[in-house]
């Protein structure tokens, strides 16, 4: 049972089945698209349509009650079969070169079109998955097998996979050309659905069996069960691959479910399948037989150029009154320069954007193995995945897709692509913001545990040596290829090793060595932070004169990383020596031992540059601070680092100001003041002397007396 409608086709009323009408409409639309750039397009289409109308009329007069699918298909077949035309096209262009004189002119004009405008298509006729390889092979004139081998090799490095998918999306299929399956739209297929028809819809869209996307979607769950990591070294390459095969596909499936409309009406179903109609024929024939049109087109071009020139001229005339001759040219030149400039700027911005995204992508892939140590709960994980895929990957893919479409000269910008990419990116933004918000919340509160005192036996000698050990055995010492401070290494599958240890050296109030340890952490609440801080295990061991500290803190996936930190203060009695071994791996710092003042929440020690302690050097504690054995003061502020920071500081950086403030508090303030006074008095004295000299030399004191007061150092007056 089928619905029949009446249409007015070429002035005749034709009863036609709905499905047949859809077919016919598709066909005429594809014709329209096909001849879009053709001169006399209307006429050609009109001719074809009236011929179709005639054929319909024939059917109807023969006694058919209405036009059926078969009728339309027969008509379309008689109008042309694409494969035949393609074959014809090939032979024609190869033989055309031999024709001479009169026909040569036309053939040279026409034959250049199909060959010169070679475009990249996915080859639907020779494909394994999406026809990308055979399309590329066609385009570059190489053997398909070679292209496939290259891709398979690339696949193992993880790059090929993304490339293939991007090309699959971006490069139009050859079927597209045949009947503008640019019309082919992504719908969910309700007829062949397992859950929501997403996979079968994707299958329809790419012209592949629905089982291929289904398997791709299922793989993640299988992998989830069998844990790829257990397969050992085989999976060391490309984290990208592991991303592909993970439970995320569920999320993607759901998003696709939401985003992709279901094909409900017949025409939508047809659009979904993009019914192959034999249009290539017509296109090929149009292309190759542009007889005389070439000339006309160029004439038309000249005319158009003329009118445009005129318009530009009049516009330029309106805007500025230059001499008549130069106007048009100047206007054009200005427009051209502006255009080039604009393109350049846009290009730069796009390039920077893509590079930033790629950098961000690589970075996040690098630190992704660490996510379990930071993220708590499924929502944060979801946001993290969302950020990675939707916020970072989607725009990269979108821009690359766009570029490839540009390169492949696909002019029509697909609305679906734009919408999908746009909405996915919006979701990505949402994920990123939510991720930041929730993670920040987890770091909100700080702990408030008391300092613990570690009992220490006074060493036999005069010296205490601080050294460090790894708190674990090197069983699984997998080094991540990107280092993300303070994460040092993954110890095993669910323990990471964080280098958050700080050592401060201070003067002991009595005559024995003392060590205190403060554990700090962040958390979503103070209780949580305190709990996490108390869970920190940090070993301090003394072997006579050697003080062994753990190299870092182990963080596990259950308790998460909340910037747990251990601050060790070594109190050195006056007259005793201390030495820090090389390779302890964390910054050393000289302080007063007064943590609560110096180490407040906003002070965070994080860069190599901050280490202003020389390892492997003996220091001796004196009444006013640490000195090296050759009697240089080692307050940490005299060495090259602090000089560097001071020089470039000059008020630009908040943190350096902090340092300076701290420096003041760390130094013996009284002494500084004294020194300053002496300095300023001396300076003033020098100046006065020089002035005095000048006065004496000139013998005329009056005009110079003003300067004396200007130069006079106000410091003297104040102190």
């Amino acid at each position: 049972m089928k619905q029949v409608i009446n249409i007015n086709f070429q002035g005749r009323v034709v009863p036609i089945e709905v499905t047949a009408f859809d077919l016919l409409k598709n066909y005429t639309e594809s014709l329209n698209r096909h001849f879009a750039n053709e001169e006399g397009k209307e006429e050609i289409i009109n001719d074809i349509e009236s011929r179709i109308g005639e054929l319909f009329q024939e059917r109807l007069t023969k006694g058919a009650t209405c036009i059926t699918d078969d009728d339309v298909k027969a008509v379309i077949k008689s109008m042309g079969n694409p494969e035949d035309f393609e074959a014809m096209d090939d032979t024609q262009s190869s033989s055309s070169s031999s024709s001479s004189s009169a026909s040569q002119e036309q053939s040279s004009a026409t034959s250049s079109i199909p060959t010169g405008n070679k475009r990249l298509y996915r080859n639907e006729n020779d494909k394994v998955l999406g026809g990308v390889c055979s399309g590329l092979a066609n385009y570059f004139n190489i053997d398909v097998v070679i292209a496939r081998i290259i891709f398979v090799v690339l696949l193992f490095s993880g790059v090929g996979f993304l490339t293939y998918i991007i090309m699959w999306i971006a490069v139009p299929s050859s079927a597209t050309v045949q009947i503008g399956s640019t019309r082919r739209k992504l719908f969910r297929d309700p007829d062949e659905k397992m859950i929501a028809g997403v996979c079968s819809g994707i299958g329809n869209y790419f012209g592949i069996n629905a089982w291929i996307p289904r398997v791709l979607f299922l793989l993640p769950f299988l992998s989830f069960l069998s844990r790829w990591g257990h397969w050992g070294g085989l999976w060391d390459f490309g984290d990208v691959i592991r991303f592909t095969f993970s439970p995320t596909s569920l999320i993607i499936y759901i998003i696709l479910w939401i985003v992709i409309p279901e094909a409900i009406t017949t025409s939508e179903k047809l659009e979904m399948k993009g019914e192959k109609v034999d249009m290539n024929s017509i296109k090929a024939s149009v292309m190759e037989e542009m007889k005389g049109v070439g000339k006309k087109a160029s004439n038309f071009g000249k005319e158009a150029a003329g009118t445009i020139n005129e318009k530009a001229r009049s516009m330029a005339g309106d805007v500025q009154n230059f001499s008549k001759r130069s106007r048009g040219g100047l206007g054009n030149v200005i427009a051209m320069i502006a255009k080039i400039f604009a393109y350049f700027i846009i290009g730069c911005v796009c390039f920077a954007f893509v590079m930033a995204l790629i950098g961000l992508g690589i970075f996040s892939i690098g630190i992704f193995p660490l996510k379990d140590y930071v993220l708590r709960g499924s929502w944060q994980n979801f946001y993290a995945w969302g950020t990675l895929f939707l916020f970072i990957a989607v725009p990269i893919i979108a821009i690359i897709t766009w570029l490839i479409r540009k390169i492949a000269r696909m002019k029509n910008n697909s609305k679906i692509l734009r919408l999908t990419f746009g909405s996915l990116w919006t979701i990505g933004w949402f994920c990123m913001i939510m991720l930041l918000v929730t993670v920040t919340r987890d770091f909100k509160a700080s702990s408030s545990l008391d300092e613990q005192t570690v009992s220490l036996v006074n060493p036999q000698g005069n010296k205490l040596v601080v050294s460090s050990t790894l708190p674990f055995t090197k069983k699984y010492y997998g080094r991540n290829w990107i280092r993300f401070e303070p994460f040092e290494n993954l110890v095993d599958e669910d323990t990471a090793f964080v280098r958050n240890v700080f050592v401060e050296i201070a003067k002991s109030p009595n005559d024995s060595f003392q060590v205190t340890m403060k554990k700090t952490s962040r958390g979503y609440s103070r209780a949580d932070a305190n709990n996490l801080a108390s869970l920190i295990r940090f070993n301090i061991e003394q072997k006579d004169s050697i003080l062994l500290l753990d190299k870092g803190i182990a963080i596990n996936k259950v308790d998460k990383f909340r910037n747990q930190m251990v601050i060790i203060t070594v109190y050195v009695p006056v007259g005793k020596q201390i030495r820090i071994n090389k390779g302890i791996g964390w910054p050393v710092h000289i302080g007063t031992g007064n943590w609560d003042n110096n180490w407040n929440d906003d002070y965070y020690y994080d860069s190599e540059e901050d280490i202003r302690w020389q390892a492997d050097v003996d220091y001796v504690m004196k009444a006013d601070g640490l000195y090296t054995l050759d009697n240089r003061k080692a307050d940490g502020w005299n060495d090259r680092y602090s000089k560097k920071t001071r020089n470039r500081n000059s008020g630009e950086n908040y943190r350096y100001d902090e340092y300076d403030k701290k420096a003041d508090s760390l130094r013996n303030i009284e002494e500084i003041k004294k020194q300053k006074k002496i300095d300023s008095i001396e300076r003033a004295k020098e100046k006065l002397d020089s002035i005095k000299e000048k006065i004496e030399n000139s013998g005329n004191g009056e005009p110079l007396s003003m300067h004396v007061w200007n130069v006079y150092d106000p410091m003297i007056g104040i102190n």
Binding site: Q10, G11, R12, F35, E38, E39, G40, E43, I44, D47, I48, S50, R51, G53, E54, F56, Q57, E58, T61, S78, M79, G80, N81, D84, F85, M88, T91, Q92, S93, S95, S96, S98, S99, S100, S101, A102, S103, Q106, S107, T110, S111, D278, M279, S281, I282, S285, V286, E288, E289, M290, K291, G292, V293, K296
Partner: protein
Amino acid sequence: MRKGVLEFCILSVIKQGEAYPSDIIDKMKAANLNILEGTLYPLLTRLKNAALLTYRWEESNSGPPRKYFSLTEKGAEFYKELETTWFELANAVKALTDAEQEHSINNNFNTPE
């Protein structure tokens, strides 16, 4: 094949008298030259735009009015040019293929020795 040849064929069909596109197809089919209608219409339009062809409308009782094509003067001239080119080409090809045949015959004679 058939770059320019197709035009040549079409023009020669039309030269024999006014023709309707499906007539042209039929005639070419009869001569064992199968082309698709989809190619014919754009080709005719282009020839018409190049002022080689002209047409007139004729009412038909089985559908919309039909276009009957005929040659213009220019078209006739062009046809003559094509014709001479074609025969030049055909002769050249014939001469070559004949020579080829002779050669192969000679070869056949020669090989036994």
